[in-house]
């Protein structure tokens, strides 16, 4: 008996795309997302290159498509525990972690005022604090609050939020539950994690406050980020006069991520435009090995060079030193064209950390093959489990969407073959 339904694991841009493309072609689709909201990493991006447009715009369209489509069901806070069966007929066990807030939540926000517990805001990579009960971010879809329950326990709060909620939406005792789905195909699109910059100890991330990562800068530039959109030095909140971007921080590196992460060059060029807009006179340097602005992205590279007045330094940044008196950072590099080892001082240094596939740390609970960096080998392993997006290759958003669209068709083929 054919099973036309498809489970998409991961509700980021790849997962949402695969789900929508399949659903709009008539399939029943489930999305399982581990965060309390859909949208994944792109929700944390301020602007896309090369258009410099806000990702929330496209996400809004996609959420609208989800709202209007009766064939899509999604689960947040969901993880896949087990997969059995074969192409055309998979039994999947999902674990739904507790949100501690039920469907009665209207999103009114009264609970937040009452909540006495502050936690690091994961959405902003811990650069600011939020209440233990919170809306994950402004555009959170679904617009439901969530509780970081371990923080409540630690603080010994018995549920001040529950006391003020008029709609009985808060359930401090909510338990995780499991549910079973039977589907014809699975699209695995769990995306990527930023490479852990702590592993690059020569750059001082974690020791020097003014060394941040590219994903952090993205939040700093966002109007709804920890600094209200102002790019400033984390150590003292001061405006910056100079900034350095360190490319291949972990990527193209046999000791770290062996592959090139594909997006970091363009991301840093984009970040240069953020900085230039806020600081017309700031010095912006990019330390690079090769600038990889492939295809039509070359136009963006050209434009940024012309308009943002960026100094490109051919030479990977070797080390970063901190002047403890003022938090200034010295980037030491071999400027190959100038034929000298340079030591330049900056207010802020951004590490262009790359993409580690999520499957490097959380493998698919099925027979699948992985390459040496943990990316899934396409076409190998269990038939009927299709991979999409950055679990397969390090991809920019447009390429990930393309890939996810292709994956949707392959999933449909699996449901057809399974007949």
């Amino acid at each position: 008996m054919a099973n036309k339904s498809i489970l998409v694991v991961g509700g980021g841009i790849s997962g949402i795309t695969a789900a929508l493309e399949a659903a709009e072609a008539g399939c029943e689709v489930y999305i399982a997302e581990k965060n309390p909201y859909l949208g994944g990493r792109v929700t944390q991006i301020n602007q896309y290159f090369p258009k410099l447009c806000p990702p929330n715009c496209g996400l809004e369209i996609n959420f609208q498509r989800i709202r209007n489509n009766p064939r899509i069901n999604f689960f947040t806070l969901a993880e896949v525990e087990n997969i059995s069966g074969q192409e055309g007929n998979f039994d999947v066990t999902l674990k739904i972690n507790p949100r501690y807030v039920n469907d009665n939540c209207t999103g009114c926000g009264k609970c937040v005022e009452a909540c006495p517990v502050e936690v690091d805001n994961p959405f902003n990579y811990g650069m600011n604090k939020i209440k233990a009960i919170h809306l994950p971010h402004d555009f959170a879809f679904p617009m439901k609050y969530v509780i970081k329950a371990d923080a409540c326990k630690e603080a010994g709060c018995a549920g001040k939020c529950a006391e003020v909620c008029e709609y009985k939406a808060i359930e401090p005792d909510m338990q995780s539950k499991t549910m079973n789905l039977n589907v014809g195909a699975i699209v695995w699109a769990t995306g990527w994690n930023p490479y852990d910059a702590n592993k690059l100890s020569y750059y001082g991330f974690g020791r020097f406050k003014n060394v941040v990562t590219n994903v952090m800068l993205e939040r700093m530039a966002a109007m709804n980020g920890p600094t209200g959109g102002k790019i400033v030095r984390p150590s003292d909140g001061k405006e910056i006069k100079s900034i350095a971007f360190v490319q291949c921080a972990g990527s193209r590196d046999e000791n770290h991520l062996k592959a090139c992460s594909s997006v970091c060059c363009l991301a840093s060029l984009k970040h240069a435009t953020y900085v230039r807009e806020q600081y017309p006179d700031a010095e912006i340097s990019i330390y690079y090995i090769d600038i990889r602005a492939r295809g039509k992205y070359e136009d963006f590279f050209t434009k940024v060079q012309e308009e943002a007045n960026v100094t490109l330094i051919k030479g990977k940044a070797g080390e970063i030193e901190e002047d403890q008196t003022n938090g200034q950072l010295v980037v030491i590099a071999e400027d190959q064209e100038a034929k000298q080892v340079t030591r330049k001082s900056y207010d802020l240094v951004v590490l262009a950390t790359g993409m580690a596939p999520s499957t490097a740390t959380a493998a698919i609970p099925a027979d699948m093959a992985y390459d040496e960096d943990g990316f899934v080998v396409p076409g190998a392993g269990t038939a009927g489990i299709v991979v999409a997006g950055c679990v397969k290759n390090p991809l920019d958003v447009a390429s990930a969407v393309r890939d996810a669209t292709a994956a949707a068709l392959k999933a449909i083929q699996s449901t057809v073959r399974g007949q």
Binding site: S201, R207, N255
Partner: protein
């Protein structure tokens, strides 16, 4: 806990303090070290520059071949010896072609090595096998109020990077210093090179690097520096005077083997503390602890 022990050439000369303090500390911690019979020089990082990597590794492996009969992990207290032994060992384990060739060479003396052992540093044994808890229990004279720069040096953590600790900013030495009741100094250059192999032929390299290390350690408030490496210890101890002469500084930082500091904290005998070998006198800094 029993290990085969590779003392290394310096243990008989410039680094007697290392040998004595290792012996004392091992005993105190119930660690049995059995010296590898008739061991030979590992060639350090120098021999390969004359005879090539292969010959050097085979020469080193002679020691492993002898030790293999006992089947115990090989422990050394010298970072350079560790590097050559560990790299050779890794080659034997992972590179089949090398293993075959190397055994052909070893067989010239009727020997062979199958790559069955582990090569360890004494520091690794203390940290991972003995454990800092036991170390702390043995402390009789907690080094309260003493600020210590834990100078790990270069090869200790980078011979096989990431296998032991972060190769750039290792933490184990600081944890050990804490276990002894002392305070680790803020010392960002803890794993930078002291230039040891250039001591004789290019002394200025050594003096310049030494200066940077002393500068960093003293601005971190260090009263004493400890190291696991005989070359570092020699360099920084014996040449401190020349550094001061060249840079017009007045550093006076005693440089001890970490095992010497342990011996002090454990209240072991003066033989085990072996402080008489130190050129920059540690007595001032350690007055209240070394009785």
């Amino acid at each position: 806990m029993r290990y085969s022990y590779y003392p290394g050439c310096s243990s008989e000369a410039t680094a007697k303090a290392n040998a004595h303090s290792i012996e004392g500390v091992a005993k105190a911690l119930d660690v049995q070290l059995e010296e590898i019979p008739d061991w030979n020089c590992c060639g350090a990082t120098v021999a390969s520059g004359v005879v090539g990597d292969f010959t050097q590794l085979v020469v080193t492996a002679r020691n492993l071949a002898i030790a293999e009969a006992k089947g115990q992990d090989v422990v050394t207290g010298c970072s350079s010896c560790y590097m050559t032994l560990a790299v050779a060992n890794k080659k034997f384990k992972e590179d089949e072609h090398f293993r075959t060739m190397a055994n052909e060479a070893l067989s010239a003396a009727g020997m062979q090595y199958n790559g069955t052992l582990q090569v360890r540093q004494f520091l690794d044994v203390i940290y991972n096998d003995v454990g800092l808890e036991k170390v702390a229990q043995k402390v009789k004279k907690p080094l309260k109020g003493l600020t210590v720069a834990g100078y790990v040096g270069c090869q200790t953590v980078r011979a096989l990077p990431y296998e032991f600790d972060d190769p750039e900013q290792p933490v184990f030495m600081d944890r050990l210093i804490e276990a002894l009741g002392a305070t680790p100094a803020d010392f960002p250059l803890r794993a930078r090179c002291c230039g040891s192999s250039s001591t004789i032929p290019a002394r200025d390299i050594v003096l310049d690097l030494g200066y940077k290390l002393f500068e960093s350690a003293s601005s971190g408030g260090a009263q004493v520096m400890v190291t696991p490496c005989p070359m570092c210890q020699l360099n920084l101890d014996a040449y401190q005077k020349l550094v001061n002469r060249k840079y017009g500084t007045s550093f006076n930082i005693p440089v001890l083997f970490f095992t010497q500091l342990m011996a002090v904290a454990f209240g072991l005998s003066p033989e085990a503390q072996a402080l008489k070998y130190n050129i920059v006198s540690p007595h001032g800094a350690l007055l209240q602890f070394a009785k």
